[in-house]
């Protein structure tokens, strides 16, 4: 996706040139640089303020948190909160954390592979009924995921897999939008000549996919992985309906249960807040580190 980066700088230069060309003509209503950037700063404050609050609140103890007292160097309790988090209910929070990493990490990895396989097949091969099948996949994009969760629960209870790891894991492997993205990425990244050359050399179709196609479409693979990782990590409704064994909970569900206990036990407040902060960290790190991938994914999605 380095093309995007160069394009952005090109654009900036072009518009820059255009701007200097018109600098002489001032307009009464033209937006000043301060106004534009000031507005952007204002919106940024709105988006970052709650995260800043989470950061400071995670370092407060119960009375300071509930009293709305400011954070001063003398009342930082972050280490104490982390210790409480690690010991509450026999350290179950970190069990939830590992569960989330497993659901989201392994789930997104397998899901991305499944999506890229399907997207590659849709892009590279011609077979009867292909576009109809692809249309069905696109219809799947439009099915509301929560409207699906309850039917999935009813089905799972019928076949007796409710309250198991698989009840949450298997549904998270299905990501129709990922198939669409993969197809778009395969179209952009895999030149047909390369595949033909490989066929001339006598390579089998699946070998070509594994050794050439998958390698070339790796940026798309990472994008699909990132999207699905976020979706599984953030998923709340499916685990809520499927799971009742607390040992299988992901972080999101565990925090929800703890939060519903805060009314009776205010000492749960710092646990929920500190636990929330820790649960946000991996995603923020992933999004900062993989900027070009999510931007690529969002843009490819908007072509539709």
């Amino acid at each position: 996706m380095s093309a995007v980066a160069t394009k952005e700088t090109d654009t900036a230069q072009e518009t820059g040139a255009v701007r200097s060309a018109t600098a002489g003509r001032s307009r009464p209503w033209s937006l000043s640089k301060t106004a534009v950037n000031g507005a952007l700063v204002l919106v940024t404050v709105y988006t970052l303020l709650p995260l800043g609050w989470l950061l400071t609140a995670a370092a407060k103890n119960t009375p300071d948190l509930l009293g709305g007292n400011g954070l001063t160097p003398s009342n930082v309790h972050l280490v104490q909160n982390l210790h409480d988090l690690a010991t509450q209910d026999g350290g179950i929070y970190f069990r939830w954390y590992l569960n989330s990493l497993l659901y989201a990490g392994l789930g997104a990895l397998l899901c991305a592979l499944v999506c890229v396989c399907a997207g590659y097949a849709f892009e590279v091969y011609r077979f009867r009924g292909k576009e109809k099948l692809f249309g069905l996949v696109l219809l799947g994009v439009l099915v509301p995921t929560t409207a699906l969760a309850l039917p999935m629960y009813l089905l799972a209870s019928e076949i007796g897999v409710v309250d198991t790891f698989w009840a949450v894991f298997i549904p998270s492997l299905v990501f129709p939008f990922g198939v669409y993205l993969s197809r778009v990425f395969c179209a952009g990244y895999i030149p047909g000549e390369v595949l033909e050359a490989a066929r001339m050399d006598g390579a089998k179709e699946l070998r070509i996919f594994w050794s050439i196609g998958l390698r070339m479409v790796m940026p798309g693979f990472v994008t699909v992985f990132l999207f699905q990782f976020t979706a599984i990590w953030n998923n709340f409704f499916l685990p809520l309906v499927m799971l009742s064994n607390t040992k299988l909970f992901p972080v999101s569900l565990g925090l929800y249960v703890w939060n519903s206990q805060t009314h009776g036990n205010p000492e749960f407040y710092p646990l929920v807040v500190t636990g929330s902060l820790l649960a946000v960290v991996p995603l923020v790190v992933a999004f900062v580190a993989l900027q070009r991938h999510w931007k690529a994914g969002l843009t490819a999605g908007s072509v539709k």
Binding site: V43, T47, G68, R126, T146, N234
Partner: protein, 324 residues
């Protein structure tokens, strides 16, 4: 990947598929082998976790559980046809959920789309600085799980805990968002989704042909005029898509009100259709009713998607005809 590059990639793709087919054609045997193997995992999962549950929900929604003998006899499952559907539709609580969603959409969609469009246009203007930083900072809320975003905001609404309510209070402004769940939930959603959609709009704006914008400039259009009359109409496809996905997402409203429920007495257990379905299944063990309301929710999403795509398509087709 920009709109234009994706388009060229797509045309290249079609051209290449033809070439590939030519290369494959001589080897007739096993022609379907590779695509079948590659598609099998997805199609199996898609069938198991999407098509079958939908089918099963439709099937379940046609039955109801019935106790014979003054309610002391064994539970019998009886076919009721569309009974569960008429029961849900006849329930003012279920209909009230859709009213809530309608009000929510009327407030949320214009505010969120308007804000993300404004920010995207500001970022696209030549005056904006530090574009990468702003994009990342605005996008970050999307990395926060919905349940945690709801938790943070629920705390920020609570007088005593919240520095915002406190600061506004000392400035003489008294806000009571816990007493008004609708704006409270809308604010949570705006916070979560504005940056995400802004990135989509911004990418669309960056991909606009520069010649068109320069032509507008030469014709004497200022930045505001260019933004409203040139840029916005040109990214209409992105705007439609964002509205469509926002609409489908809004129908599923669940997590945020569930969290607010703990802090606000105004949010009832049946506040949205999804909450209604959830409490039908887990509060009342009425699986038939739960299945019927899930099916209706999916149908509502399908109908809305159809209407949105249909309306926008006919309008753009009309415009093409007018241009001829």
């Amino acid at each position: 990947m920009s709109l234009r590059t994706a388009d060229t990639a797509r045309t290249a793709g079609t051209a290449r598929t033809a070439g590939t087919a030519r290369a494959v054609a001589p080897r007739r045997r096993g022609r379907y082998g590779a695509p079948a193997v590659l598609l099998a995992p997805f199609l199996t999962l898609f069938t198991a976790a999407t098509l079958v549950p939908i089918g099963y929900a439709v099937y379940l929604s046609l039955f109801t559980e019935h106790r014979s003998g003054l309610g002391f006899g064994p539970v019998q499952t009886v076919f009721t046809g569309l009974g569960n559907y008429t029961r849900a539709l006849g329930d003012p609580v279920f209909r009230g959920g859709f009213t809530t969603i309608a009000e929510y959409c009327l407030l949320y969609i214009p505010v969120m789309v308007g804000l993300s469009l404004t920010v995207a246009l500001l970022l696209d203007s030549a005056l904006a600085r530090a574009k990468r930083f702003f994009q990342l900072a605005l996008f970050l809320p999307h990395a926060v799980p919905g349940i945690i975003a709801a938790l943070i905001w629920a705390y920020l609404y609570t007088p005593g805990i919240s520095p915002v309510v406190g600061a506004l209070g000392s400035a003489g402004v008294h806000v009571d968002l816990l007493g008004h769940p609708l704006p409270a939930v809308v604010n949570m959603a705006v916070w979560e989704w504005t940056g995400y959609n802004m990135v989509i709009f911004f990418a669309g704006l960056q991909a606009l042909p520069r010649e068109v914008l320069e032509a507008a400039l030469v014709d004497g259009a200022g930045p505001l005029r260019t933004a409203l009359s040139i840029k916005l109409p040109l990214i209409k496809a992105s705007i439609t898509m964002v509205c469509l996905f926002t609409l489908i997402g809004s129908l599923q409203l669940f997590t945020e009100p569930m969290i607010l429920q703990g802090a606000s007495s105004q949010v009832t257990t049946n506040w949205t259709p999804n909450m209604f379905a959830y409490s039908a299944a887990f509060g009342r063990n009425d699986y038939g009713l739960a299945a019927a309301s899930s099916v209706m929710l999916a149908l509502a999403a399908a109908a809305l998607s159809f209407i949105v795509t249909r309306v926008t398509r006919t309008r753009s087709e009309r415009r093409t005809e007018a241009a001829r």
